[in-house]
Amino acid sequence: MGVKEKLKQVLIEDLNLEDVEPDEIDDDMALFGEGLGLDSLDAVELVVIIQKHFGVEIKDMEEGRPAFQTINTLAKYIEERLA
């Protein structure tokens, strides 16, 4: 399973996104606000989720901000750290 697929899956499971299937989440869909509709608390949760499932720690706002946009940006961020 690729990083994107795993991301979608843990997002739905850990954030309890009801009535959302993994393939309904577009790779370029905005995660926060319009789009997937996550909020700032979900962002906190997301930081924890990414650490738990991928072992990647987001410590720096400068890095986190561009990453926390879409599935694509987030996956790219994780892949870079895992490499």
Binding site: F32, D39, L41, A43, V44, V47, M61
Partner: protein, 714 residues
């Protein structure tokens, strides 16, 4: 009043001016056809010299005085249906060529009384006339507050119906003074008109102004009119001026000020009137205060009601006592402590002298303070009124809530500035002293009452009206002191305030866990000053707070021109600053948030029990704690003495990891904080400065819709 072409009768009162009157009448007739000569029992040729001229002539069988002649003319004008009479002296000193000037002015101001102003710069005017004019101008101003440049001029235009409505008693020259004063009282506008004047060389001049008798009459009249002018009952108004006379009382300062402000008075004028009232009120002018104040206020055209009202503050025994003590101190270098028949009775004259001495010092100081207070109140009332007017179609509920949070609603820039100035000049005590007075008036403001009420009602549900006011005063006073202290620390240095940290050991242990630390504060005490006690942690402190560009009150470090010692996280930033806050905690730093109210765009509140009701408190901090494992401490500050604060760790709250999504899971932890805050308020009831109606919504959902508030940092 509808545009009616004025119908003017030129009136020439005549008494023994047979030599000049024909020329005056002839000149007049060239310009105006309707002329009436009233011969007031002349003993010379009188009106007979007017033979052949087309004028109306009325004659008094014996001399009755100029006033009587004018009265006769007014009756005649009214009978013939004239709207105005224009009076010209028969001695030739007025130039009938000025009549068109009057007619033009009458058309513009049909209800005004117009008085020709002689140009006294001309050389041929006798000095005694000049002095007489000044003197009578002065009295007009004292009695009516209105001023005219030439109150003794006989070249005038009177609106007939209005003048006939006045009760005039004088019949001689003094009539011309009386009519001005009573007309002004009746609301008639008095207007100057520049006219030319000819004073014949003194040998050709015949005046019937009889020095002693007429002066005596004038003095009597002046006395009478002055007495009347300071009597409290209102003058009957003949002309609507839009002024409302309402009861003004020192016991209802706000209502009184509001009433006065509607009379087109500026806050500055009111403050000046109040200052004059208080200054004069402090002087030992026994039993004559009111009269003196009214006269002085009348002369300077200050609002008499405000002046007399403010002077009531100087009622015995307080201010006279204070003056005597100050005066005694100035003379003897110590205060008068012995109150006996000896010191108050036999030495009464000494006390009177000391009263005078003391009042010269106390008076101006008190007057300044009162002026400042009146100004403050007047400005804030005016702002309330104007902002209410400006709001218009904006939903007022939303606006009110937004305003409730900004410091702008607590005081304007210059008000803060005046306290800063006091601090610089006199230190803490000077600023506190000012505070005791100013806060008293603040506590009376309806807007302040509105803001204090929600908390005080929950904290002191049993309090009656009076206790409630006292509580409000104490709460505002504490807030004022805190604001002063905060500025003080900035202006005079942090060493001015001692901060005791309670629970330091526990804090150190929590920091040693290296999971970061979340400080949950509330709008109590003076958190900013108290934070200086956290310097020992040597860790960056990050504040979640929002700054508005227009904020007036400053943070203490700004007073000193220092760089901000904290990192600020903006709740309006990306994801409400959530990522930043996580990052801060992951680095093991300290994050400080306000736990007692919703902030910025934060929609994440839960309902908890607080002081017998339900309030919405934010739970983001608890979520962060759960996600990062950081411990939460409820760290609250309070003022413990004039120059000391305490910063106390009230409770450590541990939020377990993986509580999951949703808000209700955090309720127990937020409730812990609410209980802590409630306990704090039990101990420090007047240091709770969250002036927001926390209890207005009970459910988190509705709170989320209703929170357009902006954060204010205390």
């Amino acid at each position: 009043m509808a545009e009616v072409t004025p119908n003017i009768l030129v009136v020439i009162p005549l008494y023994n001016h047979a030599e000049t009157v024909r020329q005056v009448v002839e000149k007049t007739l060239q310009l105006h056809k309707q002329v009436l000569v009233v011969d007031d029992g002349s003993s010379d040729a009188g009106a007979t010299v007017l033979e052949g001229l087309d004028v109306r002539i009325l004659r008094h069988a014996e001399n009755r005085g100029k006033g009587a002649a004018l009265k006769t003319a007014l009756d005649e004008a009214q009978r013939l249906g004239f709207s105005h009479i224009l009076t010209i002296d028969a001695d030739g000193q007025h130039d009938p060529a000025d009549i068109p000037l009057f007619i033009a002015e009458i058309e513009k101001y049909p209800t005004a009384l117009l008085v020709g102003k002689r140009d006294f710069e001309q050389a041929s005017i006798p000095g005694s006339s000049r002095f007489g004019r000044q003197f009578s101008n002065f009295w007009l101003r004292v009695q009516t507050g209105k001023s005219l440049a030439d109150t003794q001029s006989g070249f005038r235009a009177y609106p007939v119906k209005i003048i006939q409505g006045l009760r005039l008693r004088e019949t001689r020259y003094s009539y011309e003074i009386e009519v001005l004063v009573r007309a002004a009282w009746a609301g008639v506008e008095l207007r100057d008109i520049d006219i030319s004047v000819y004073y014949p060389p003194s040998d050709e001049r015949i005046s019937h102004f009889r020095g002693f008798m007429d002066n005596f009459r004038l003095t009597l009249l002046n006395t009478k009119l002055t007495m009347r002018s300071i009597a409290p009952w209102p003058h009957r108004k003949l002309v609507e001026s839009g002024e409302v006379e309402q009861k003004i009382s020192v016991l209802q300062p706000l209502r009184s000020l509001r009433t006065l402000l509607t009379e087109n008075l500026t806050p500055g004028q009111l403050a000046a009137a109040g200052a004059v009232g208080v200054f004069l009120g402090a002087l030992p002018i026994l039993a004559a205060h009111t009269i003196v104040i009214l006269l002085v206020a009348g002369y300077f055209r200050l609002n008499k009601v405000a002046a007399v009202g403010a002077s009531q503050l100087c009622m015995p025994p307080l201010v006279p006592g204070l003056c005597i003590e100050v005066g005694y101190f100035m003379r003897n270098g110590e205060f008068l402590t012995e109150l006996s028949v000896q010191t108050l009775g036999y030495q009464a004259l000494d006390r009177l002298y000391e009263w005078l001495l003391g009042s010269l010092l106390v008076g101006p100081v008190l007057a300044g303070a009162v002026a400042l207070i009146i100004y403050l109140m007047a400005v804030s009332i005016r702002r309330e009124t104007t902002s209410a007017a400006v709001v218009g179609d904006v939903p007022s509920e939303t606006l009110k809530r937004e305003q409730a949070w900004t410091s702008r609603s607590i005081g304007a820039s210059w008000q803060h500035q005046s306290f800063y100035l006091m601090i610089r000049l006199g230190g803490r005590h000077a600023a506190y002293l000012l505070l005791y007075f100013v806060v008293f008036y603040y506590a009376l403001l309806p807007s302040v009452r509105r803001k204090c009420l929600p908390y005080l009602e929950h904290r002191f549900p049993q309090a009656g009206g009076w206790t409630q006011f006292v509580n409000r005063y104490r709460m505002c006073l504490e807030l004022g002191k805190v604001l002063v202290d905060r500025a003080l620390v900035g202006i005079l240095g942090p060493q001015r305030v001692k901060v005791e940290l309670l629970g330091k050991q526990e804090l150190l242990e929590l920091l040693a866990e290296n999971k970061g630390l979340i400080l949950v504060n509330a709008h109590v005490g003076c958190w900013q000053v108290a934070m200086s006690a956290l310097g020992f942690m040597k860790l960056p402190v990050n504040l979640l707070m929002q700054r508005d560009a227009g904020d007036i009150d400053r943070h203490y470090f700004e007073h000193a021109g220092l760089e901000c010692p904290y990192k600020i996280i903006d709740p309006h930033g990306f994801l409400g600053g959530a990522l930043e806050m996580v990052a801060v905690l992951k680095r093991g730093e300290v994050l400080s948030v306000m736990g007692d109210r919703m902030l910025g765009e934060d929609r994440n509140g839960v309902a908890v029990d607080f002081m017998g009701g339900q309030v919405t408190m934010p739970f983001s901090a608890y979520k962060l704690a759960s996600a990062t494992g950081a411990p939460i401490v409820a760290l609250l500050s309070y003022k413990t003495g004039p120059d000391s604060y305490a910063l106390k760790l009230f409770r450590t709250i541990r939020v377990p990891a993986e509580l999951g999504r949703g808000s209700s899971v955090f309720i127990p932890y937020v409730q812990e904080f609410a209980e802590t805050l409630e306990a704090f308020c039990q101990e420090n009831p007047f240091q709770f400065f969250n002036f927001f109606d926390m209890w207005q919504t009970s459910a988190a959902e509705s709170a989320a819709e209703h929170e357009p508030i902006s954060n204010r940092e205390l």
